[in-house]
């Protein structure tokens, strides 16, 4: 069973997404800010991290940068999930920041459940 860490400061979003992912057979861990997220990546070694961008304590970009600089964790696929910009007009800001953090994918909020599941499946696996 794949272990997914979802980091988002919106509690309801986390709860609902957890239900969705669990129904598809994922093992889901939640964290509600960047710092907690980073701690849980280190402790739980998930197979996939879904990161919100705008969060208290530490934003998603920074978490991603730290994670990708860690030899042990850098192979963990990361999806950045953000409402900072929208789907159709991806700004260079978001896109470039996403690339600079070496995130493996970038999804604009709001995301349809089917879309999220599809993008998760398309990611390369950790190993």
């Amino acid at each position: 069973m794949k272990k997914v860490l979802l980091v988002d400061d919106d509690v309801e979003f986390c709860e609902a997404t957890k239900l969705l992912l669990e129904s598809k057979g994922y093992d889901v861990i939640l964290a509600y800010d960047g710092k907690e997220g980073l701690e849980k990546v280190r402790a739980e070694k998930p197979d996939l991290v879904i990161l919100d961008v705008m969060m208290p304590e530490m934003n998603g970009y920074d978490v991603c940068v730290v994670l990708k600089a860690d030899m042990e964790l850098k192979k963990t696929p990361v999806i950045l999930l953000t409402a900072v910009d929208q789907a159709l007009f991806k700004t260079t800001y978001t896109k470039v920041m996403g690339c600079m953090t070496e995130a493996d994918d970038y999804i604009a909020k709001p995301v349809e459940p089917e879309e999220l599941l599809k993008r998760m499946k398309d990611l390369p696996s950790k190993d």
Binding site: D10, T17, E22, V84, Q86, A87, L88, F89, K109, P113
Partner: protein, 472 residues
């Protein structure tokens, strides 16, 4: 020389004679303005003639110099380089003498005429400074005001300009605007304004550029100043400080991205929660509950579209819809967009067909922008079966969307591209939307130098045609 003198006096000219450089200078100094043309022998001892020419040039004496030499050779050329007008051979014939002299007299008159005109031009603007009433009117302007003569030297400015550009009467008056206000951009506006007959100036009509000078954003308007005869004698510039407005603009922009995040985050959360409950992941639902939640989900999506539309619209207004120009394969983008939209068409039991011509040239444009054009036009048409085509038409790539939906009533056809315009009929009551989609499309198409138009017969569907120019 003697012969010259005789000829000139014979024609009624007044002649003074000097035997040396010193004597010549003496005459010129004693009778300023009296000497108009000087006949100068280049055979004065010790290059005396050249010295005289150079001295007179330096003193900016308006005397036309004709040299006389044996063969009008090298020395004569040198004299002409130094400022002499022409050379007469020492062994001249009467005819030859008059040909050259008449030309010299004509040239002198022209020069003087030009000089008078130049002085008039300057005087016309400098005397404005002495008009008290006019000055106090100018001082009352809240905008900065600077007038230059036709050589872009400052002749007048008001208090506001003094504080805006740090000008003082001593430092600024009579000096070039390029020295007093260090901005090449600003200088170029003054120069362009005075070339009012050229095409350059016509480009300026109706244009009020904002220029950054010394950390301030200034809206600049420069007009030529003409005298009664219609000759351009200078330029007047009006500067409106829009720094605050610019700051407001940036603030507004920040506000929009804040709103974007603050609205989209909770909407995203709502959408996820509703979807999960609707899928039965939080327990079984009655059909009534499913029905209500399904509608709630649609409304939520509608709100998301609205927020996105507002942001798209804002971006177009800020001119950011063509930020990343790259060579695009429109066929590929259209195919992908159609695939994305197919689901929502099928949900409504409608068909979506697409004909794409082979070997279309690439189009240089903004990818996000083009996606938005396709998405908005297609979703606008999915009220009936949709038939699309992408083809080459002359120098354009043409995208055509035809639907057999409810169409557009005649009174609406000219207004469909207006922002927030929505057709209000019984049939459209149930359709949600921001009324921004088509104005977004038009904004993006315009930014790509393309064109769009709509045709429709009410009740029989509508056709939208977009033409995008492909560089040859």
């Amino acid at each position: 020389m003697k012969k010259c003198r005789e000829l000139l006096i014979g024609e009624g000219h007044r002649v003074r004679a000097a035997e040396s450089v010193e004597e010549a200078l003496d005459i010129i100094q004693k009778h300023p303005g009296d000497v108009e043309i000087m006949l100068l022998s280049l055979e004065l001892p010790g290059w005396g003639g050249m010295t005289l020419i150079k001295t007179l040039q330096k003193a900016r004496r308006e005397i036309l110099i004709m040299t006389i030499s044996a063969n009008c050779g090298e020395e004569a050329m040198e004299a002409m380089h130094a400022g002499a007008y022409d050379c007469i051979r020492k062994s001249f014939t009467t005819d030859r003498f008059w040909t050259k002299m008449n030309r010299a007299i004509e040239a002198f008159r022209l020069r003087r005429q030009l000089d008078i005109l130049t002085r008039q031009r300057q005087a016309a603007l400098t005397h404005v400074r002495r008009d008290e009433n006019l000055l106090s009117i100018l001082q009352s302007f809240t905008d900065a005001f600077v007038v230059t003569d036709w050589q872009t030297n400052i002749v007048l400015f008001n208090e506001k300009a003094a504080s805006m550009f740090d000008l003082t009467r001593e430092k600024a008056l009579g000096r070039s605007i390029s020295v007093c206000i260090r901005s090449d951009e600003l200088l170029s506006f003054f120069v362009r304004a005075m070339k009012s007959d050229s095409t350059l100036a016509s480009l300026m009509v109706g244009e009020e550029p904002v220029v950054q000078v010394g950390g301030k954003d200034l809206r600049v308007h420069v007009d030529p100043v003409k005298n009664e005869a219609g000759t351009v004698i200078g330029a007047a510039g009006l500067f409106h400080d829009v720094s605050t407005a610019s700051a407001m603009d940036r603030l507004k922009s920040d506000f929009f991205s804040m709103v974007s995040h603050e609205l989209k985050s909770p909407l995203s959360s709502l959408l996820m929660q509703i979807s999960v409950v609707l899928d039965g992941l939080a327990g079984d639902l009655t059909s009534k509950q499913s029905d209500l939640l399904g509608k709630a989900k649609e409304k939520t999506k509608g709100m998301i579209t609205l927020v996105n539309d507002i942001l798209d619209y804002r971006r177009i207004q800020e001119g950011k819809s063509i930020q990343n120009i790259e060579n695009l394969d429109l066929a590929e983008i259209l195919k992908r967009t159609v695939e994305l939209m197919r689901l929502s068409a099928e949900e409504k039991g409608l068909s979506l067909t697409c004909e794409i011509a082979e070997g279309l040239p690439s189009f240089s444009g903004d990818r996000g922008g083009m996606e938005a054009v396709f998405v908005n036009l297609i979703s606008n048409s999915i009220r009936g079966n949709v038939n699309m085509s992408l083809s080459k038409a002359g120098r354009d790539i043409r995208f055509k969307v035809v639907d057999n939906g409810i169409g557009i009533p005649p009174e609406g056809i000219d207004r469909v591209f207006e922002k927030f315009y929505r057709i209000k009929t019984q049939e459209t009551k149930s359709i949600s939307g921001s009324g921004l989609g088509l104005s977004i499309v038009k904004g993006i198409v315009d930014a790509h130098n393309g064109s769009i138009h709509a045709e429709s017969q009410a009740g029989k569907g509508a056709t939208f045609t977009v033409s995008l120019p492909v560089g040859e």
